[in-house]
Amino acid sequence: MSLNYVVAMLLIALGLYCLLLKRNLIKMVIGLGVMTDGIHLFLISMGYREGGIAAIVPAGMLQDNVAAGFASAAVDPIPQALVLTSIVINICIVALALSMAIWVYHHYGTLDPSEVRRLRE
């Protein structure tokens, strides 16, 4: 049973719902964050090994500069590294989007995206 995957996908769908249907820029940014978190959860759970340990060589396994028995027990380090990268990217997006939302509020006096459409007229 791949419950982890399903929950991650539900989070993504929830974020998408927030992004598409909420009428508030800040809530939309939150939705974006939730969606990205779902993706991160999905990536991390994909690297799980049945009964695995963290991808750090424990002190007990350090023998003569070689990590014995470690490789067959640890979880996949690559998705974790990807998620580390992706988290920082997400922080940057959220920070910039919120700054722009502050400016939108400054110019329009509202955060409702349906009223922020003067350019189209």
Partner: protein
């Protein structure tokens, strides 16, 4: 053999961007911040162009330059791989960005914090260059984000209400697109357990196509948002209209090109999904028709150019969608031409904005007497984009029409020809209401644009004429790229097996 040119081409603008704040802080003391930062950007971009061009001889000789970062061999580390397709796109990106940098020297004269503008400009370039030269899927995502985030910031650069509105719209839609790309990459990693494009290409061939439909759709949607394919185009007109004109030129010339490159690379060279072509052709057709129809009704020059940009992207998608050698040739040639004349047109719009202060077609008129050179350059660009014979747009559009007929989709070609006439119509309307007709009183004293701005425009116009008179030159330029698309196994072999 040391294969350093690709990494130099990426690190140069990155290094430049990191250095810009320091240089600005030093030069601020001598009150020369503007000049120093501007010329620094120009120098960096031109150096980048030369670096890319230095790879030319080897790539066109049929070689694939592979650079392994940190010396790790491909499936485990990150690899940069440059074949004909990469080189063509890299040349376009570097060329457009260096011309935009020259143009910005004068155009951004009235804005504050020019050091941040220069840093962000270099970052867009670095992002586009990173996308273009990388051979690793996740790395492509990272550089896609660099390019996207810096272009969101640049769109909002003037902090007026329109820039901020366009910026946040672009930001929300664009971030949704990049999230979808990340999800697609995550699914692919889960299925295949690899991230190098060549390795993925090799392994995806052994998987049932029905299993990889969802990641393919996610990736195409993500890249489609960046190139403003029509159901996903909502950000484009606003962003092109509200951004500084130099940035509009960069968006049309560099970031869209890089997005389309990513699409071609992923769909055709990674998934090998030539069957998706028909869907592309249909999307291209819709994009082309709706873009042209919407452009007809616009009253603002930059918005009109934005819709025409969407429409031209439709032509390129149409050519890509045919999936034949001639189709790729035509659409890559049109990609090159589109970058040239679209940058030229946006720069002309910027020149008008710089001198007059508005691009609203109703308020303009009779500027041909005041700005004869700009008028001439705009006319060249407009005729080229409409596909009038002695100019470059004709050659590439003609190739796409022929490719459509050869692929048995003559209807598509017919519609494309009609849209070409429509393009001519709305550009004639624009020329008529800007440069001809009655001149309002308050436009009496408008001067010609400064020479620093005219220089890149003239260069682009000359390119328009040269590529139009000698289309074989352009075909020679894109032939290696088209050969690279058809030669999927050669790429895989060069990256995984080679050197």
């Amino acid at each position: 053999m040391i294969e350093i040119p690709p990494i130099i081409a990426i690190v140069l603008p990155l290094f430049g961007a990191f250095l810009t704040p320091i240089i600005a802080t030093i030069s601020r003391r001598y009150d020369a911040e503007r000049k120093v930062c501007g010329w620094f950007t120009v120098a960096i971009t031109i150096a980048m162009l030369l670096t890319v061009a230095s790879m030319g001889a080897r790539i066109w000789g049929g070689e694939v330059i592979v650079y392994r970062l940190g010396g790790w061999s491909p499936p485990w580390g990150i690899v940069l791989a440059v074949d004909g397709l990469n080189l063509l796109i890299a040349l376009i990106v570097a060329g457009v960005s260096s011309l935009v940098a020259i143009y910005s020297l004068v155009y951004m004269r009235r804005d504050t914090r020019i050091d941040l503008y220069c840093a962000l400009l270099l970052l867009v370039t670095a992002g586009a260059m990173g996308i273009t030269l990388t051979g690793d899927l996740f790395n492509l995502y990272v550089f896609f984000e660099i390019m996207s985030i810096s272009s969101y910031a640049l769109v909002a650069f003037r902090r007026k209400w329109d820039s901020v509105e366009a910026g946040i719209k672009y930001m929300i839609i664009g971030s949704l697109g990049t999230s979808l790309i990340l999800l697609g990459i995550a699914l692919l990693y889960g299925m295949v357990g690899s991230l190098t494009i060549a390795d993925l290409a090799q392994k995806l061939g052994q998987i049932a196509p029905s299993d990889v439909v969802v990641p393919l759709a996610l990736l195409v949607t993500g890249f489609g948002i960046k190139i403003a394919m029509i159901p996903l185009h909502a950000w484009a007109p606003d962003a092109y209209q509200a951004a500084p004109s130099s940035i509009s030129a960069l968006l049309a010339g560099a970031t869209t090109t890089a997005g389309l490159y990513a699409m071609i690379r992923v769909v055709y060279m990674m998934f090998g999904a030539f069957g998706v072509g028909t869907i592309f052709a249909i999307f291209g057709l819709v994009t082309m028709v709706l873009g042209a129809l919407m452009a007809l009704t616009q009253r603002d020059l930059k918005r009109l150019l934005a819709y025409s940009s969407i429409s031209q992207m439709g032509y390129i998608l149409l050519g890509v969608g045919f999936g034949t050698a001639l189709g790729f040739q035509g659409s890559l040639f049109h990609l090159l031409n589109n970058a040239i004349f679209k940058a030229l047109l946006f720069m002309c719009a910027g020149a008008i904005l710089y001198r007059v202060g508005t691009t609203n077609l109703d308020e303009l008129g009779g500027l041909g007497k005041n700005m004869p050179i700009t008028a001439g350059l705009f006319a060249i660009g407009a005729l080229a984009i409409s596909g009038v014979p002695p100019l470059n747009g004709f050659a590439s559009k003609w190739t796409i029409y022929i490719a459509g007929i050869e692929a048995g989709k003559a209807v598509f070609s017919l519609i494309a020809i009609i849209m070409s006439v429509l393009t001519l119509a709305y550009f004639l309307k624009a020329i008529n209401s800007i440069f001809l007709g009655q001149r309002p009183k308050r436009l009496q004293n408008v001067e010609e644009a400064p020479l620093t701005m005219l220089f890149p425009m003239m260069l682009l116009a000359v390119l328009c004429i040269v590529l139009g008179v000698l289309p074989s030159l352009g075909i020679d330029l894109v032939a290696p790229a088209q050969g690279a698309i058809m030669n999927q196994s050669g790429y895989i072999h060069a990256v995984l097996g080679g050197i």
